[in-house]
């Protein structure tokens, strides 16, 4: 597969530079009678029509006059402090040195970016920056891709006149577990600090001291623990900020790079995947305007460690012999897998075969597997979700909004889990939209989220009551309290929703509450809010592509919960785990255990050893992210490319190829020789999936307005001794990518149960105390934390962070899970 090499950024800095179309017209050619719209400005003798309010530094770029800069970054508020961009500007009162990053183009402005005075000023700034900057380029990670080095070469003085001793500082110092700071190299451009404050909302780093003693620091013993800290490393124009995983790992000139799409979550951030030798060494954010706008979360950015982690990867097919998994050839493994499936088909028919997983596949992989399931095996028991999502008909059947539409909507209704934990860069986009004053947020959530401080109204409901709350929002009758949701807050939310054009961000707010309630809530909003659109908040990498490709139960087919229940009662003769680990990922841990134990012949198509696959009869090694090419589909339905950069370990294959070969072993032919064959069959063209990719027409499955609402499902009453469980996912959990990335693994926080202070008071416990929490299947001791964001009567516990967490308590046979808490 060819890489998209033309668009590949060469360095961290390049990734952030945009390259808008040139609309420059040379002065002498300017005879056209109708001047183009805009502000006429002459830059280095070339007339350009700038947009109203456009900054000079941007307009100059368009006529090919690159003005050097350090502090300026188009995604950050300009501060004009490095003074590198000084150029001579004549606004009618004679030429004056002005910072191009602050000056807006005004009519008939004349600019000389390379005049003698401009060059002297630029020269001077470089010299000043080098006064206290160590000349350790040969050992600096940034050497070779350093804007300071490059600008020194292009704009700087030839030699140093500085004979004084430079300032020395202890270095490097850790800002967090992931980011280190070399204060001697820092040129105080304010990029990291502006990012932390303006974009991430985590102002945990600041300038400290003053003048030449100024330095970046955290508060003592309070690290820069931001989910977005890695962006500061990419923003740093020198080698002052380095990430622990990357430090000293590579030299920029050895780096190969290709553009791809991150699949750590379903947001679809555009990235540059970089390798050195045979290893992945870095992901950089690419500035995709409709999607991630340059940013990445740290989980996505550093998850390449998991792919590099050969200790946990599977590279060879394995078959269970005499109770032990033994490495075998592909031929033997495929034969064994085919036999297992065939036996099940022969003895119990297609409905005894189930396929769980597929959300980590590419669209092409998913398409091949869907075809295998449908045309060859003939089963409808296929589900890429792990009982933690929403019905495919709801995800694919509601009118769809793009990310940009959501961020420009007057009101965003969040009926979703904490998006900072699950779709971190969507959180950044929404945070930006709220702060810009464009968007108001109304939250329908079982517990306060990271967006709550910015929300206009937050309705914290009791699990099971989501649909009632949604119905109340679109009702005309006087508002009434619904459990912990007050009538006043409903009235306030109604007020906000009066402006048409709302976008609902729809996910599964808590896996301890049945999906039906949430689906019903969405359907009510769809029916009653004129012009409403939906943006999915399902988080698994390519869940939207997999659903669209058909990895969803059809007709009478079982979903993951159904398959596990069938397996538990001995009714699933063959189970394929397609990159899925129900043992750790299905909300109801007990069901997962019973299902996996009761399943018949089990085939795991896996790229690393995980809890569920260790039980399998056959393991088929699959290539992972960055080891294969294809496309992926994000939450808004945008199809963009993922590319291969390194080779998979051992003899691992791409998933589509495994499907094709398995079909062959079953005596069928899927008809694909290459991944391009599949793209062609899917109608995905190279151009459409290039760069930012394209949002295709919504793949509507059924008609949402015809979907039945189940508001009638009875919600069990909450007894006075119990609290209703809310389960929350954390960005850093024991999932595969975090657990096997050494730098991320120790960021997993210990479990704490959060409950309303008044409930805790009733129980006579305070923050930090130990309590015993008991559910239908389990009982264990946890630490409690008081949290007014959890409504009265509820208890919040995370999932997948410890052996005993919300998953041990969730009982998926009941629409909600109630737990009891006693102090110990």
């Amino acid at each position: 597969m060819p890489d998209d090499d033309k668009t590949v950024p060469e360095s961290a800095e390049d990734v952030t530079e945009k390259n808008p179309a040139v609309t420059a017209v040379a002065t002498e050619e300017q005879q056209a009678p109708e001047p183009p719209p805009g502000v006429p400005v002459t830059i280095d003798g070339t007339l350009v029509y700038a947009d109203k309010g456009e900054l000079l530094i941007e307009a100059a770029e368009r006529v090919g006059s690159h003005i050097p800069r350090f502090c300026y970054h188009e995604r950050l508020r300009p501060v004009g402090m490095c003074r590198m961009c000084l150029v001579e500007v004549d606004s009618g009162r004679g030429p004056m040195l002005s910072p191009a990053c602050l000056v807006e183009c005004t009519p008939d402005m004349k600019v000389e970016t390379r005049s003698e005075k401009s060059l002297k000023a630029q020269d001077g700034v470089i010299e000043f920056l080098l006064v206290n900057h160590p000349l350790d380029c040969p050992v600096c990670d940034k050497g070779g891709e350093c804007p300071l080095q490059d600008n020194t070469f292009t704009f700087g003085p030839g030699e140093s006149r500085m004979v004084e001793e430079k300032l020395h500082r202890e270095k490097p110092i850790p800002l967090s577990d992931l980011v280190l700071l070399d204060r001697e190299r820092c040129i105080l451009c304010d990029r990291c600090t502006r990012f932390a404050d303006e974009v991430a909302g985590d102002p945990l780093i600041s300038f400290t001291q003053r003048g030449v003693k100024t330095e970046i620091a955290t508060f003592p013993d309070d690290p820069f623990a931001s989910y977005f800290s890695g962006n500061t490393v990419q923003l740093c124009p020198v080698g002052a900020l380095t990430s622990k995983p990357y430090r000293f790992r590579a030299r920029p000139w050895d780096i190969e790079s290709s553009e791809s799409t991150c699949t750590a979550c379903a947001f679809g951030c555009r990235i540059a995947v970089q390798s050195s030798g045979r290893e992945l060494i870095r992901y950089l954010g690419v500035d995709s305007d409709p999607v991630n706008q340059n940013w990445l979360c740290d989980k996505g950015r550093f998850s390449y460690e998991a792919i590099n982690n050969t200790d946990t990867r599977v590279g060879t097919p394995m078959v269970r012999k005499h109770g032990e998994l033994v490495e075998v050839s592909w031929g033997e493994a495929l034969a064994a897998a085919a036999k297992g499936i065939k036996d099940a088909l022969d003895r119990h028919g297609p409905s005894s075969v189930g396929i769980i997983g597929g959300a980590r596949l590419t669209n092409e992989d998913a398409f091949a597997w869907a075809k295998l399931a449908n045309d060859v095996i003939g089963t409808s028991n296929v589900d890429c979700q792990l009982d933690d999502g929403l019905p495919a008909s709801v995800v694919l059947g509601l009118p769809r909004a793009t990310i940009d539409e959501a961020c420009a909507a007057p009101v965003v209704v969040l009926l979703a889990p904490d998006i900072k934990q699950e779709l971190p860069v969507l959180f950044l986009r929404l945070r930006g939209a709220v702060l810009s004053g464009k968007t108001k947020v109304v939250e329908i959530t079982p517990a306060a989220t990271s967006l709550t401080p910015l929300a206009a109204t937050t309705l914290t409901y009791r699990p099971g009551e989501a649909a009632f709350v949604a119905a109340a929002l679109v009702d005309d009758a006087p508002a009434e309290d619904i459990g912990p949701v007050s009538a006043a807050s409903i009235t306030a939310a109604r007020e906000a929703l009066k402006t048409p054009g709302a976008v609902v961000i729809l996910g599964r707010p808590s896996t301890a509450e049945a999906a039906n309630f949430v689906a019903d809530a969405a359907l009510v909003l769809n029916a009653r809010l004129p012009g409403v659109k939906f943006l999915s908040a399902l988080r698994r990498g390519n869940v939207h592509g997999a659903l669209a490709a058909g990895l969803a139960p059809r007709g009478e087919g079982l979903d993951t919960g159904g398959m596990l229940r069938a397996a538990a009662s001995g009714k699933l003769a063959a189970l394929v785990l397609l990159g899925a680990d129900p043992a750790t990922d299905v909300p109801d841990a007990s069901l997962a255990q019973r299902g996996l134990a009761g399943a018949g012949f089990t085939i795991a198509v896996e790229s690393s050893v995980r809890a569920s696959s260790s039980r399998a009869d056959v393991i088929l090694p699959a290539a992972s992210f960055a080891e294969r090419s294809g496309t992926t589909t994000n939450i808004e339905g945008r199809v963009s490319r993922v590319s291969q950069k390194v080779t998979a370990p051992g003899v691992a294959w791409e998933d589509w190829m495994i499907a094709a070969e398995l079909a062959g072993a079953l005596g069928a032919d899927l008809g694909f020789e290459t991944v391009e064959d599949i793209s062609a069959a899917m109608g995905i063209t190279e151009e459409a999936s290039h760069g930012d990719g394209t949002v295709g027409a919504p793949l509507v499955m059924g008609n949402a307005s015809e979907l039945a609402t189940n508001t009638a499902i009875p919600v069990p009453a909450l007894d006075a001794y119990s609290l209703r469980l809310v389960s929350g996912r954390m960005l850093y959990d024991n999932g595969w990518s975090v657990a096997t990335s050494p730098s991320l693994a120790n960021l997993v926080k210990p479990v704490a149960l959060r409950a309303n202070p008044r409930d805790l008071e009733r129980l006579g416990v305070t923050t930090g105390a130990q309590v015993r929490v008991s559910g239908a299947h389990a009982s264990f001791v946890v630490t409690v934390a008081s949290d007014p964001g959890v409504p009265l009567g509820s208890a919040w516990l995370p999932v997948n962070v410890a052996a005993d967490d919300a998953r041990s308590l969730i009982d998926s046979s009941s629409p909600v899970t109630d737990v009891r808490i006693e102090s110990v």
Binding site: P203, L204, I205, F207, R210, A217, F219, P220, D222
Partner: protein, 191 residues
């Protein structure tokens, strides 16, 4: 004790109430904390952050910008000798050397008895009565080696109650008053 005491918390809240936005109270609250503890402790910075709605890093970053906030204990009396131009022309450097000898410390140091911390400071706005020395920000004008030594003896003897211990900035505060703008008079609350 490093977070605000109950009394100081009341004062802190009154100070915050005087500004349209709580963060404006950052510097005055740092003074209050320094008055309470003699220097600005980490706990106090965290408490201030909580009160005005910003991170400890923001309090720390702001506090370290300003000369007057000391992140470590100082002597009971902070002696600031101005050596800027007018004082220098009137012999401030010679005076500073005398102070060093007399207190037995070099600039930046604290005397062995913990009484005095000596600083060289920038123009104190006492240029016409140079050289000037500030002790805990109280002025001594036209200071001579002799008058300096006399001052030191008085401070040691505890006969200068016009000079409170380090940290106390002003002994008279603006009395807590509700801003009339908060009383709804302006029709709009200032966000």
């Amino acid at each position: 004790m490093a977070r605000f005491s109950a009394n100081n918390l009341v004062t802190a809240q009154a100070i915050i109430a005087r500004y349209p936005k709580p963060r404006s109270a950052l510097v005055p609250l740092c003074h209050l904390a320094q008055e309470q503890d003699g220097y600005l402790t980490d706990d106090a910075m965290e408490h201030i952050g909580e009160l005005i709605g910003c991170t400890p890093a923001q309090v720390y970053g702001t506090a370290t910008f300003y000369e007057m906030f000391k992140l470590h204990p100082t002597g009971k009396y902070l002696v600031g000798v101005c050596t800027n131009i007018s004082c220098m022309l009137s012999g401030a450097y010679e005076l500073l050397e005398h102070c060093e000898r007399s207190l037995g410390v070099s600039v930046g140091g604290t005397s062995a008895d913990g009484m005095f911390t000596l600083e060289e400071v920038e123009c104190s706005a006492a240029c016409t009565v140079a050289p000037a020395v500030q002790v805990n920000y109280r002025y001594e004008e036209n200071v001579t080696p002799e008058s300096f030594d006399a001052l030191v003896s008085q401070l040691r003897a505890g006969t200068r109650d016009d000079i409170p211990p380090h940290g106390t900035l002003a002994r008279v505060r603006q009395t807590p008053t509700d801003r009339w703008a908060n009383s709804g008079q302006t029709g709009e609350h200032i966000a």
